[in-house]
């Protein structure tokens, strides 16, 4: 299958540069000499390829002025706690909790081409396959293996499913919205924003590029978020364990109630606020960016805060009994010290404060 609407380009150069850069194989002293030129070339290469891709797609889309749309609705009797797998290449996906024991899926295929005939051909060639067996159903696109297709087809899924359905979503491009689903949720996306609200089951959201927002989650399951490029917001979360991992982007976790939390960014700020559980462990880490930790409630905690080149500040109202303190490190206890809090920044400041 080929992804429609995107000109495929051979990307040998970037791979080589990426791998060489990623592996960092040159000795430390040699990196000082050659690092800058390689980095500059890499950035130039990236910029050119990105611009070229965007331009190519823009040009193609500009030519694709004719549009044809097809809508169909399927009802799938998967029961109150069945499973639904949605795969897509391009297009938005929306899943909302409904009543009853059937999932209703509206599939909207939108095809664009230079002419109406091209757009119509897109609808004829790009299909959606729906398979249903017992309490399981899968929906996936079926693109022909066709290079330089004279059309571009995106497919949107608008789903209303029983709240207890376990939902698995995988897609290349497009936004994903999930509301009030209480079964397990897995969202795996290459590019696009993800918004999840009102969930209750285990939730896992991973994307290469795109912001992730999870709000109003209740229950005792785990929440895992992994993003390479994008910001993460977690608000009003109740979960057994919360983990969020970002390479480039900030993480805000507010009003989070969890037995354990691991929040980490390489480049971005990290903020966590919420009550602590006795015996809980809360680890926040960032390389470049500040860390702000705001415990609520009355649970005491053992605090280990450190930064390589930033500063550490604490709210006196916390009543921290310090065991050791320096400009870059603080160890102490609040109350009974029954929870463990580890805050590690490299170049950012670490702040511990009440709300």
């Amino acid at each position: 299958m080929r992804r429609p609407g995107l000109a495929r380009r051979r990307s040998i150069g970037w791979l080589t540069a990426t791998v060489v850069a990623a592996l960092g194989v040159t000795p430390a002293h040699a990196q000082d000499v050659i690092r800058v030129p390689i980095a500059v070339m890499r950035e130039l290469d990236t910029a050119l390829r990105t611009a070229g891709a965007a331009m190519g797609e823009a040009l193609q889309n500009r030519d694709f002025r004719a549009e044809q749309t097809h809508r169909e609705t399927r009802s799938l009797a998967i029961g109150a706690s069945g499973s639904l797998e949605l795969s897509n290449i391009s297009g938005d996906i929306s899943v909302t909790a409904g009543s009853g024991t059937e999932a209703a899926i509206e599939i909207v295929r939108r095809s664009r081409g230079r002419t109406d005939a091209d757009a119509k051909a897109g609808l004829e060639r790009v299909k959606t396959i729906v398979e249903h067996r017992g309490d399981r159903a899968t929906v996936r696109p079926d693109y022909p293996n066709e290079r330089n297709a004279p059309y571009s087809v995106s497919i949107a899924y608008v789903v209303s499913a029983p709240a207890g359905t376990t939902v698995t979503i995988s897609s290349i491009s497009g936004g994903v919205t999930v509301k009030n689903m209480k079964g397990g949720l897995s969202v795996q996306l290459t590019s696009g924003p993800v918004t999840v609200s009102g969930g209750a089951g285990r939730a896992e959201v991973r994307t290469i590029s795109g912001d992730v927002t999870v709000t109003d989650m209740a229950g005792d399951a785990n929440l895992e978020v992994g993003v390479i490029s994008g910001n993460v917001v977690l608000e009003r979360i109740r979960a057994r364990r919360v983990s969020a991992d970002v390479t480039s982007g900030g993480i805000i976790a507010r009003d989070v109630t969890a037995d354990a939390a691991t929040i980490q960014s390489i480049s971005g700020s990290v903020e966590y606020a919420g009550p602590l559980a006795k015996g809980g462990r809360y680890e926040l880490q960032t390389h470049s960016g500040p860390i702000t930790f705001r415990p609520t409630g009355s649970t005491g905690f053992d605090l280990q805060a450190s930064t390589f080149s930033g500063g550490i500040s604490t709210d006196t109202s916390l009543g921290i009994k310090t065991r050791s303190v320096s400009r870059r490190s603080l160890r102490g206890t609040v109350g009974d010290g029954s929870a463990v809090v580890v805050l590690t920044a490299f170049s950012g400041n670490v702040t511990v404060a009440r709300r």
Partner: protein
Amino acid sequence: MATPCTTDQSRLSRLADGELTPAETTEVRAHLARCVDCRGLLADLQQLRATARGLGPIAPPDHAWMQIAGQIRLGADKPVAAPVPARTVAANPTWQWIGLAAALVLVALGAYVFRGGAETPSSIAETGAGNAGTTASVEAVTTELGLAMAHYEKAVAELERIAKTDDTSLDPIVAATLQRNIGVIDVAIAESRTALMESPASAPARDSLFAALRQKISVLQTTVLLINQIRQGDHEGAARIAAGAGKKS
């Protein structure tokens, strides 16, 4: 889709380390008798532990290295993520080399953790910055990472050869995103290394280095898997793999 085993896999690590009580051992052995996934994971952990004792050339099972990595990363005393389903990509030399190189770095990190017992890098530093034990650990890690990097060089050579001969196609925008973020991680690694050279006992510098290394492996792993999937024309698989991004190795 098979339901992954939800048993507490940290117990497998502890079993491999001989840290379980007799009662716990009996219980875990009983589970192993009926769970093929956990048996495989235990075998991998035992192999990894043996490897960590003497870092020579190794050939970690391609299908399981992510599971191993997760175990090492989280340590024996922390909760672990659910097992990642096995992936059959052994025929691809790119994957093999990346898997090997990544596993070696993880072995080095694992060895570091093993040497420190149950202590995390932070807690090691806490016991007294600059003491002899800490210095020895830093030196050991430096040596082990150096070995891993040597294997990386081999991986790079192989990857370059593949890149010159294979039709490697990846969405340019996704590629640029991955590339840009690898650059971000490289900066973090370089800064952490410099900081460690200046302050070998610095816990935040050490923790940042390890975190960045782990993240680099994760992103690189995602990149290679994505390329493999797209090369095979499996765009749905590519979406799943792409989304493995950020799933720590």
